[in-house]
């Protein structure tokens, strides 16, 4: 579990020893140059982040996660004993721009490695271009099936992929609730829609019917027709495949329509911490659930450091950390562990090693890659807002402590104890 620490400390010692030996050798041969401070050449990593456009909120969090990781990694010996230097470019949430960015990193800047962008939509073209130039694409925020289904061998996702994300909740639902109609509404995003669809497929088999199933395109801005349809279905359980802005809008529309489902789970939005509570109003958050691959309070390697470092750098508290931060951090962690094990900056060797079934650790838990690059060792959690606090409630019987799940949401605007 602490391979990375030992590895980097050892290599740092190795470098220092090597430097000392060479200095002695030079002195002996009389070629010693005074003031020879040979700083090790940094390891450059190119990353495209969405600092504007549809994904700008998450894009910034992604960048924060990578930056924190670099700071942390450099405090633990860097990679191969060399300091990590990150290069960022903004892709404005555009799939064509992300290709241009990675192409520039690889062919012009000649970075040693690249790490993934935010979202499945951008990771897919990014991994294509990385593949063309034989670079590995390690990422933590691109888990839609389309990323893995193309037979590329260079893409590796350290987080749980879309197929698994809502299934934890679906399994619990099937095990504890009577089969009943469920309202589904989802954006046709390549990550979010599969999340909802896989859960729905599971629930359909277990006898839960579909009260309503609406898919909306990404550019929708007026959600009242969709919200009205969900509200009109009268379903007591609603599963929404939303990104933050539409999630917040739909909740608002539900409040206006006075529709209050007993259980409400969103694909994302409630995991955005302070953004969520501000947009929706803290008193309206009670009982809302969201899947997440990370527990803020966990003891997984690097997590406590990451949280402390984040709060020190960006302020806020543990509950305001966006879920993208650990996803980015984890990608960096795995990269460092793997490269240190491989011992060189060769992307080809790195790819082979990542596919070898090796196990890695991260702030999100264990990581092990299946043949298509998915993390087969991941187990997503489900979180719920209870009394203004963001607590894990599922899975039951797992290694982490969870709170009891609230199965009946109170009326809008009422949060017990607030």
């Amino acid at each position: 579990m602490h391979i990375s620490r030992f590895g980097s400390v050892a290599s740092r010692h190795k470098v220092q020893l090597g430097a000392a030996l060479s200095a002695v050798a030079l002195a002996v041969t009389g070629l010693a140059v005074p003031n020879a401070t040979a700083a090790p050449k940094p390891i450059t990593i190119g990353i495209s982040v969405s600092l504007s456009g549809d994904f700008s909120g998450d894009g910034k969090a992604t960048q924060q996660g990578y930056k924190i990781w670099a700071t942390w990694q450099n405090a633990h010996g860097g990679i191969l004993g060399r300091p990590v230097v990150l290069k960022f470019l903004s892709d404005a949430s555009s799939p064509t721009q992300v290709v241009t960015n990675y192409q520039k990193f690889i062919t012009s800047d000649k970075v040693d490695f690249v790490l993934g962008p935010y979202s499945t939509k951008l990771t897919k073209p990014a991994s294509d271009i990385a593949n063309r130039y034989h670079y590995v694409m390690l990422e933590g925020i691109g888990g839609g099936p389309s990323v893995f289904s193309r037979g590329l061998k260079n893409v590796f996702d350290v987080s749980a992929s879309a197929t698994y994300q809502l299934v934890t909740y679906a399994k619990w639902l099937a095990a504890t609730q009577k089969p009943q109609p469920i309202a589904y509404a989802t954006m046709d995003d390549p990550f979010i829609q599969p999340m909802v669809d896989f859960a729905k497929a599971y629930l359909d088999k277990k006898g839960f019917t579909e009260a309503v199933y609406k898919v909306y395109p990404a550019e929708t801005t007026d959600f009242s027709p969709i919200a009205s349809a969900v509200a009109a279905s009268g379903a007591k359980i609603a599963i929404l495949g939303t990104m933050p802005p539409d999630g917040y809008a739909m909740i608002q529309n539900f409040i206006q329509a006075k529709y209050n489902p007993e259980q409400l789970i969103l694909a994302s939005g409630p995991d955005q911490g302070a953004d969520f509570t501000k947009s929706v109003g803290v008193t309206n958050t009670e009982g809302i659930m969201v899947p997440n691959t990370w527990i803020p309070t966990s003891n997984y390697p690097g997590n406590k450091d990451m949280v402390a470092l984040y709060i020190k750098t960006y302020g806020g508290d543990i509950n305001s950390i966006n879920a993208d931060v650990p996803e980015a951090f984890a990608a960096g962690q795995v990269l460092a562990q793997a490269v240190n094990k491989v011992g060189s900056t060769s992307n080809v060797k790195l790819q082979a090693y990542l596919h070898s079934g090796a196990k890695f650790t991260s702030v999100q838990g264990p990581v092990q890659f299946a043949a298509d690059g998915e993390n087969s060792g991941a187990a997503p959690y489900v979180f719920q807002w209870q009394k203004g606090q963001y607590v894990p409630v599922l899975p039951l019987g797992g290694p982490d402590k969870v709170s009891p799940i609230e199965t009946l949401r109170p009326a809008w605007g009422t949060t017990p104890g607030m």
Binding site: A92, S94, Q97, T100, Y133, D188, D189, P190
Partner: protein, 356 residues
């Protein structure tokens, strides 16, 4: 500066046009530069700029054939760009075309489909006069964008479609696209040239200058406009096909993008709307600058400001564009030269007389 004959005794008046020799020379140099460009600058990031420049070149030249010559500014031509992209993506997967050289065969297919689509579209939008026309083309583009988002079964919705990329090595990947693009761009320019010099072209220009009078002179304005519309759509379809193949993914908001038409019009205006080479020049300069900007700074948003400001400046200062500005400069240069000769002739004998 002495001449045997005075100006008034010259047999023919001086030509105010840029001499054929210079024009031909400039064209030849330009052609050579374009052909050798990616071989000299073999960094793939730079040749990518070149590929996009070629795509825009053919698109703008095609756009100019309609909007420049007839004066009907079409701000919805992204429709045909998008049709080219989606046709390519859908057919590539439906016909199971293996990634590689065979995909390029889709270019004539996309051109044909775009042209075909232009016929009913043209018949609808060309019924109305200029203001309504402009707005209608924009509305049409949004309709297509909405269809692309909503006909999820065919178009993949927000997730878009993919065109498999050939497994060529990174260092030479861009070259085939560049040269095919160059070839198509040259065809577009030649077509534009031939139209301009033909009777058909004259009828288009007549429509631009005064449509009612053109009709009264017997020109079938409806057919002329429709023909120009279809021809321009064909080149936009080609551009769309190249774009889809090169970029590898097709999305509704980039295939049917209002900003795309803005880019086309600014390139055409900057270079010289209605001229033959003007739009090409504009395309090369502006798309090159845009790509460079995007590569260096990432994100298109600052460039929107630059576009907007640049466009306003161009509209105010160089409403004709670069090429007409060059012709104007040349004309005034010739006029001044003639003026000097005339002055010296008038003064000369008097001077000579004074110094006798």
């Amino acid at each position: 500066m002495s001449t045997d004959t005075t100006i008034s005794q010259r047999p023919t008046p001086p030509s105010y046009e840029v001499p054929k020799a210079i024009r031909f020379g400039a064209l030849a140099v330009g052609f050579l530069v374009l052909v050798l460009f990616p071989l000299v600058f073999n960094n793939p990031t730079i040749s990518t700029i070149g590929v996009f420049a070629m795509i825009f070149l053919m698109a703008v030249t095609g756009w100019n054939i309609f909007s420049g010559y007839t004066g009907y500014i079409a701000l919805g031509h992204a429709v045909f760009f998008g049709i080219g992209q989606y046709a390519t993506a859908m057919l590539a997967s439906y016909w199971q075309i293996p990634p590689g050289w065979e995909t390029f065969l889709l270019i004539p297919v996309s051109m044909f489909l775009a042209g075909l689509a232009a016929i009913p579209i043209g018949l609808i939008v060309l019924r109305v006069r200029k203001h309504t026309f402009i707005v209608l083309t924009i509305a049409l583009m949004f309709i297509f964008q909405l269809f692309a988002y909503n006909l999820r079964g065919w178009t993949g919705g927000s997730q878009g479609l993919e065109v498999s990329q050939p497994p060529w090595d990174g260092s030479i990947f861009n070259l085939p696209y560049y040269y095919v693009g160059l070839f198509l761009a040259i065809i577009a320019i030649v077509t534009s040239f031939m139209i301009r010099r033909s009777k058909f072209g004259l009828s288009l220009l007549a429509i631009r200058d005064d449509e009612d009078r053109a009709r009264s002179l017997g020109i079938n304005t409806r057919n002329s406009k429709l023909t120009a519309f279809v021809i321009s759509a064909i080149f936009l379809g080609a551009a769309g096909c190249m774009y889809a193949m090169f970029v590898g993914s097709v999305y509704p908001q980039f295939s049917f993008d209002p900003a795309f038409d803005l880019e086309l019009s600014i390139m055409a205006f900057a270079g010289g709307l209605g001229t033959i080479l003007g739009p090409s020049l504009g395309a090369l300069i502006i798309s090159g600058a845009q790509q460079y900007f995007l590569i260096t700074f990432g994100g298109a948003n600052v460039f929107l400001i630059v576009y907007g400001a640049l466009f306003i400046l161009i509209l105010r200062l160089l409403p004709g564009g670069v090429v007409p500005a060059i012709s104007d400069k040349w004309r005034s240069h010739v006029v001044r030269k003639e003026q000097r000769i005339l002055d010296s002739e008038l003064e000369g004998p008097a001077e000579a007389g004074a110094h006798k």
